[in-house]
Symmetry: C2
Subunit: 333 residues, 2 copies
């Protein structure tokens, strides 16, 4: 995947994906001692950057393999990728099957159904009876559908890279770029752009409980983690992928992890001072920056810093729990 693929993705997404705002905050700048540019994918369609990769992958499938596109696509996800594929397939007139666990939040199932177009279907399964991979593979074969994975796919990665492209367009040169990391799709895509366009130090940030990417980065061997318990539900992926791992190794300068308390404290800051509704995973990059500012203040002093806020699909009934976690951490820090 090269920066040319990202540029091509940007052309495909023009007028379809939102050109999300880059927000600044004098309070944040004061706290960090540098100039911070937050690219807010919480304002993206379906509430997260995932729409970019999903749309790019499906648009390319239709261009390159029209017959496959006619048979439709399938994905398994209970998160933002499910909604992204649902909306992208609907916009492109491609049938989609979304495999979701039957215990997924009703609001997520309803939202996914709401985005689906004609011929689209949500298939629910019982986690105790079958894995999503087994069911997904079987259905895809039966229906002749193409599986579109949530991150480990070159066209998905190129789509996610457009986030960084737009950030650089608005903010200009950046000394640092902080990006959250689950499966590494957003991080790979953005790091390709950062390498091609400038000299930013690219930092990937993941939750402490799921620090597989940090360990993979350090050992240069793919490590994994099983069902990590973290509030950052978008980063509970078991490991980087076949495509994303080499890209992260090649283009990322540093990997770090943050605790859930630290994450919730950063999230509270975003709500209180920046007036942004973001999900826990969306606060990973900000939490990483705040950690670096605390521990290595001079390193970010007077620097230009990009922070990618990945999404805003939070369960609003859980906010009080998140604030409590954040306060606990602040009291102990």
């Amino acid at each position: 995947v090269t920066v040319d693929d990202v540029h091509a993705a940007a052309a495909r997404l023009r007028g379809i994906a939102n050109q999300t705002p880059v927000m600044t905050s004098r309070t944040l700048d004061g706290r960090v001692g540098g100039q911070v540019f937050c690219k807010c994918e919480s304002f993206q369609r379906v509430g997260a950057f995932k729409f970019r990769g999903a749309y790019n992958a499906l648009a390319l499938l239709r261009e390159r393999e029209p017959h496959a596109a006619e048979r439709g696509v399938l994905t398994y996800s209970s998160g933002n990728h499910a909604q992204a594929i649902a909306l992208a397939s609907s916009l492109l007139g491609i049938r989609a099957t979304i495999v979701m666990p039957d215990d997924a939040p009703r609001t997520k199932i309803a939202a996914t159904r709401g985005y689906l177009g004609k011929g689209g279907e949500v298939v629910l399964y019982n986690r105790a009876e079958i894995t999503r991979e087994e069911l997904g593979a079987r259905l895809a074969q039966e229906r002749g559908m193409t599986i579109v994975p949530p991150y480990d796919h070159p066209d998905v990665i190129a789509g996610q890279g457009t986030v960084a492209l737009e950030l650089f367009e608005v903010a200009g040169q950046l000394d640092w770029l902080f990006v959250c990391c689950g499966g590494g799709g957003l991080l790979s895509g953005c790091s390709i752009v950062a390498r091609a366009l400038g000299e930013s130090r690219v930092v990937g940030v993941e939750p402490e409980a799921g620090d597989d990417a940090c360990r993979s980065f350090e050992t240069r061997e793919l490590q994994s983690v099983r069902d990590p318990q973290t509030v950052a539900d978008g980063a509970r992926t078991p490991s980087l992928g076949r495509w994303t791992f080499p890209l992260v190794l090649a283009n990322v300068d540093e990997m770090m992890s943050v605790s859930d308390g630290e994450l919730c404290s950063a999230m509270h800051f975003a709500y209180e001072r920046m007036k942004l509704v973001i999900e826990p995973t969306g606060a990973l990059a900000l939490a990483g920056l705040l950690r670096v500012a605390r521990e290595r203040g001079v390193a970010v002093h007077a620097q230009r810093i990009g922070v990618i806020v990945s999404g805003g699909n939070v369960d609003l009934d859980r906010l009080a729990d998140f604030w409590a976690l954040g306060r606990e951490w602040e009291a102990s820090a």
Copy 2:
């Protein structure tokens, strides 16, 4: 106060106030059946539109009465106006005294102190011992300070009007403009602009418990309400003012009120679907629009609609209460 005063205020605020974003939402458009443009003053400095009027009034004082400006300004407020005067005075190098009740939330007192510049002071008083007007008047006389009221002042009104000016610049002609109403500063200022620039139907929206402006509008005589109990703490003002009442009568087309439950339901919509952190008062205009769409759907169908989101300074620990109120109302509606 004329639209020329608003244009002059806009020139004064250029590069100092934030040019806040105008956000759109396909979900909102779908629900209303029209095209909605939300001007988000939650992203304004100090988190609310109040900064505009405060800065304009203080800048004009310094221009017109430099000696008075040298002696400083005083205001009484426990809300967004206090922080607005604190920041504006600090930026303009004017001493400010802010009178606040000693039971105001510590975070608000701390935030106000944080914005104050050299020579600035927060004076706390005990509500049981003295009224803020008495103490304010006494201190202003002792210190030779000019009192800057929160809404009933022509320069404050002209400053608030710049919100509508920026909205029209971005959104173009609007068929409807929904604005919240407490003391009527924002509503007067914006209605002057709407009258001068186009043919928008201007609707003022206030909380049901404090429907003094609705009654004043209907009877064309100034009505007041005593300490109304509503979650919209920015609209708990007793009545419109000597300046704002005639302006509202002259330029506003319709006044309406919404219940707290309705307000909280609209607020939840803004968080969930638009990813905006807003305060209850900030959701008044949106709640008004949703009511009109529900009850007179055809009136907003295919129309271009402006909604002013006035601020985002919410107590994040109270969100769960607000969601509960909103759900209760939705269940009963």
